[in-house]
Amino acid sequence: MSHPIVALQDVQLTLTSRAGPVEILRNVSLRVEPGQSLAVVGPSGSGKTSLLMIVAGLERATSGGVEVAGHDLTRLGEDELALMRGAEIGIVFQSFHLVPTMTALENVALPLEFAGAANAFAIARELLHEVGLKPRVDHFPAQLSGGEQQRVAIARALSRSPKLILADEPTGNLDGKTGRQVIDLLFGMQRRRQATLVLVTHDAQLAAACERTIRMADGRIERAAELVG
């Protein structure tokens, strides 16, 4: 059995609020194998996004073990986490989060520049061609449609060839047709690069396209609901 790309062991996440402590994740354990695609589904407030944030190193588990791409995230500092994300993880957001002052090309090149890659713009250009945005490389986000912006975001997420792609409702802000195109693109690129994909979604059709689905409710993974596609 290969080494898992994501291994969560008894992860607890408790946040403090004015009303008192709130348990967001309760004893979550999860293994994701390299190259797999996993859909995380569940109602709002069930802890899907928090799970994704723990895996991305954006949120620290209150207790439990978090290992991603061979790194024990519980032992990394803020900046080490940022560097780890840059190298190992690509994130695709529901709201795209492109930097509005940068062109499509510059947005895609940004992670490569942070990594000090000499050929950042050549790689970024290639990726944009791959996602079908050859004529749009010098456009600013405001000059692109929602679907185009999400393609740029996907290209940016893949620019450093991450082992793990995390996507949070990637079609949530897109119409049905555009959403399907974006999903086809995302899955296609994941397969070509043999990356792992963890995807949070409300969309049953999208979840069905993944090899595996887990359902969350009230901060727990419903074991019975885990399906292998």
Binding site: L58, G70, H71, A82, H97, V99, P100, F114, G116
Partner: protein, 858 residues
């Protein structure tokens, strides 16, 4: 190596690769500078003042250097009190080039009928005068030709004595026809501070006037121009100086060359420049609050971009680097604007006030002035941006998933605090090191720190108080107090920026009021009414009789006075002594010297012992204790002075504490009588008149004095003090103008803070309107908020400004403190007016804003 090591070890040293940070920062700035307008304006304003002050001072100095030859009337001058150059000395000078001799002295110019008289500055000149520049006469024509016919007189004096060209004027014992009215004189500045209008006469007329006697206070000045065409080069000037010093070692000449034709004026300019620079720095610091606000708002608006960068692998340090670079680019834009505007300031001032200046200001600015202004601009920008930039570190990439509210206030990381403190230290260090008077610069910086701390505290206190205050029943007041305590409200930044600016203005206004009242009211009542120069010992009893015949209660005090130059302390020539600026004047040029059997009035011996009556031993001197300390002199040291062209060495027998402010006769150095008794000298006499002396009697007595003793000069103390007060008033205009800029900076900060809060205020007003509030109600609540804010700020500004003025006046200037209600009222009125004007404009926009777009977008 583990996977983690591989990730964390490699990129960290690449984090700060400047080109990437710079490239991304520049990309980020594509969104424009809209949020940075106040930032740029604040930096530009402060840098403009500092550059402007430097540029004006550079322009005047360059004018001095360029026109040094004309100001001196030659390439170099040597001068000495009392004693004309002897034939041998003259021969030495003439070997070096062309020489022109002038004699300047104070005298009473009178109408021939004795009906009126006035103090005048008399200048006797020889035929070659002036070697450089030109004396212009009101009706045209040549000076030398006019001097053949009589005197050339300042029109002010002609008017004062009601004389016309052709009529005679009494100079000493000689009636001299007025040949022409004077228009301008090239070398007026090198004749020191003048108390009266100028009269030019020829040397021959001076000889006939009976004014030149042994002991008369005459300055003999010799302008030199080396043979050959054009100006002497720097090296030639140095060689010339060396030769005069070598060939006339004991002559006691003061040597000045065209490179620095008036060291006194140069020094005064430099002190004024340093002081105004500190005021410019205050404007910059006040503007710094606006800079900090702009950066905080900017970072808050860019939270998602910061989070995005962090989500794609940028460390906090890299993101901080990117935003710091952006902020520095903005700061540099402000600095460059300030440098350009400041450099142009001499042009503007020249166009407006050029005629008032004694010299033509050159359009120039030194690299050091520009560098200093840029350093101040950059340091203040850093000081006020590092702290708000610390927010970058607290922005988590998780905001991209959840809409979190950023914590309102939190401490930045340790290294941000460290860097901020370091920047503050560099700023204070630079301000102190670039001032000659380190003590004053340090006081100034310390005062600013206190004022900033107090207003920071006051801002927090007002906010906290407003939050905790019980809700008033009057809804407008409740709204106003609610706004004062609101997070992201105006309170802190307005109190800090406006309060600091106002405190400075109050301090300057009160210091001004105290000095004016000292000069115009307190000093004249304590001091004698007249100083009478050049009274011979023989004439003193008769003069006393003359004065007391008309005014029996008049008191006369007399002391022998010569003028001489200090040349050595122990074995060290004064050129090698590095005196602190506040004691430098003792070493420059000549000093009044006296001798006395007993301790002079108004002083007391604090160390050593006074010499016994009839002392006949080694020459002794009593030195003023404060200056002795500053010059490093102690009992037993020797002081060598050049008096009447001879060096006299005396040992310090005691130190005296002197009450200078009484203006009684007193001297830095008082010698034992045996030291100077044989030197020909006159007496300096003071006349103190009873307060009830009728002005007519006073005028009649002084006229009689002038008529019967033509060679004595009576100087009215009140006139000198008025002259000081008028010079001082001109300086204060510059100080107040620079000070007003701090208030302008405060206004900019206020405008910025209002603009930042505007959206929130509009939304609040719209919600209130939907709940049934009338426009009047909103208007009143805003007005109450502004009045409370301005009132609290003004109150503390008056308290702090008064305390600062009191300290400066009583501890630094050593004079009495005068509280001026009008100065305080002006400050309060300014604060209220500023807040109401800017706030009113904001409220106007708030009340006009349509509700629908705001309600929809929320």
């Amino acid at each position: 190596m583990s996977a983690t090591d591989a990730i964390t070890s490699a990129p960290s040293d690449r984090d700060w690769r400047l080109p990437v940070v710079l490239a991304i920062a520049l990309r980020e700035l594509r969104s424009g500078f809209a949020g940075f307008r106040i930032f740029i304006a604040c930096v530009a304003l402060g840098v403009t003042v500092i550059t402007g002050v430097g540029a004006v001072s550079d322009a005047l100095r360059a004018g001095f250097e360029r026109q040094g030859e004309a100001i001196l009337g030659g390439d170099m001058t040597v001068s000495r009190m009392h004693v004309r150059a002897e034939a041998a000395e003259r021969a030495v000078l003439e070997k070096l080039g062309r020489v022109s001799e002038t004699a300047t002295l104070r005298t009473m110019a009178r109408r021939v009928d004795g009906s009126d008289q006035a103090l005048a500055e008399l200048k006797g000149v020889d035929a070659p005068y002036p070697l450089a520049g030109k004396v212009a006469l009101a009706g045209g024509g040549s000076l030398q030709e006019a001097l053949q016919r009589g005197a050339v007189v300042d029109p002010v004096l002609l008017q004062r004595l009601n004389l016309k060209a052709g009529e005679p004027i009494m100079i000493g014992t000689e009636p001299v026809p007025v040949a022409a009215a004077l228009k301008s004189e090239p070398d007026a500045l090198s004749d020191r501070l003048t108390y009266g209008p100028r009269i030019f006469i020829s040397q021959a007329t001076l000889d006939k006037s009976g004014l030149v006697k042994p002991g008369t206070l005459i300055r003999w000045r010799y302008a030199l121009k080396p043979a050959g065409a054009g100006q002497a080069s720097e090296d030639e000037l140095k060689a010339l100086r060396a030769r005069v010093t070598a060939e006339l070692p004991e002559a006691g000449f003061t040597i000045t060359d065209r490179r620095d034709p008036s060291p006194q004026v140069t020094r005064t300019l430099e002190r004024l420049r340093q002081f105004l620079t500190l005021i410019g720095l205050t404007a910059l610091l006040v503007g710094g609050v606006g800079v900090a606000n702009a950066v905080a708002t900017f970072i808050d608006k860019r939270r998602k971009v910061i989070a995005t960068m962090k989500s794609v692998g940028a460390t906090s340090r890299t993101v901080l680097g990117i935003f710091l670079t952006q902020v520095l680019i903005v700061a540099v834009i402000g600095i460059v604007i300030g440098l350009v505007l400041g450099t142009g300031l001499p042009l503007v001032l020249g166009a407006l006030y050029g005629d008032l200046l004694p010299i033509h200001a050159e359009m120039t600015v030194s690299p050091s002035s520009l560098l200093a202004a840029a350093v101040y601009g950059l340091a203040v920008s850093l000081l006020f941006t590092l702290w708000p930039l610390g927010r970058v570190q607290r922005v988590s990439a998780s905001v991209l998933f959840r809409d979190e509210v950023a914590p309102e206030r939190a401490w930045p990381g340790a290294w941000i605090i460290g860097a901020t403190l370091l920047t503050a230290a560099v700023l204070v260090g630079f301000a102190v090191l670039s001032s000659d008077s380190k003590r004053i610069a340090l006081y100034f910086c310390g005062g600013l720190v206190v004022i900033f701390a107090v207003f920071l505290g006051l801002g927090s206190a007002v906010t906290a108080l407003a939050r905790r205050a019980p809700r008033p029943r009057y809804p407008e007041l409740a709204l106003a107090i609610g706004n004062l305590g609101a997070p992201g409200g105006l309170t802190r930044s307005v109190v800090l920026s406006l309060g600091t600016g106002l405190s400075l203005l109050v301090a300057v206004a009160l210091a001004n009021a105290s000095l004016v009242s000292e000069l115009k009211e307190r000093l004249p009542t304590r001091s004698p009414d007249y100083f009478v120069l050049d009274v011979t010992k023989e004439d003193l009893p008769a003069i006393t009789g003359l004065v007391q015949r008309d005014i029996p209660a008049a008191a006369l005090e007399a002391a022998p006075m010569l003028r001489g130059r200090i040349v050595r302390f122990n074995d060290t020539p004064i050129e090698e002594i590095n005196a602190p600026p506040e004691a430098q004047w003792v070493l420059n040029g000549d000093r009044g010297l006296s001798y006395a059997e007993t301790v002079p009035k108004g002083s007391r011996v604090v160390a050593g012992a006074w010499w016994p009556a009839g002392y006949a031993g080694e020459p002794l001197v009593s030195f003023e204790t404060d200056l002795a300390g500053k010059l490093g002199l102690k009992l037993g040291d020797t002081v060598t002075v050049n008096v009447l062209g001879r060096n006299v060495t005396a040992r310090i027998a005691n130190l005296r504490e002197v009450k200078w402010e009484s203006l009684a006769i007193n001297f830095v150095m008082v010698f034992s009588p045996n030291t100077l008794k044989d030197a020909p000298s006159n007496l300096l006499v003071t006349i103190s008149l009873p307060d009830d002396t009728p002005p007519a009697t006073e005028a009649q007595t002084i006229r009689a004095l002038g008529r019967d003793y033509p060679s004595v000069t009576a100087i009215r103390v009140r006139d000198i003090l008025d002259a000081f007060a008028s010079v001082f008033a001109k300086v204060m205009i510059a100080v107040r103008a620079a000070g007003s800029v701090t208030l302008l900076a405060g206004a900019l900060v206020l405008a910025g803070a209002l603009a930042t809060a505007q959206r929130r205020r509009i939304l609040e007003a719209i919600i209130l309107k939907t709940l049934g509030a009338t426009r009047r109600r909103i208007l009143v609540s805003h007005a109450l908020e502004y009045l409370l804010l301005a009132g609290a700020t003004a109150l503390f500004a008056v308290l702090l400004g008064s305390a600062a003025a009191w300290l400066a006046v009583t501890q630094v200037m050593n004079i009495g403190f005068t509280f001026s209600l009008s100065a305080v009222a002006t400050a309060i009125a300014l604060a209220v007016a500023l807040v109401l004007t800017f706030g009113g404009a904001g409220t106007w926009a708030v009340l006009r804003a349509p509700a629908v777009p705001y309600l929809r977008s929320e």
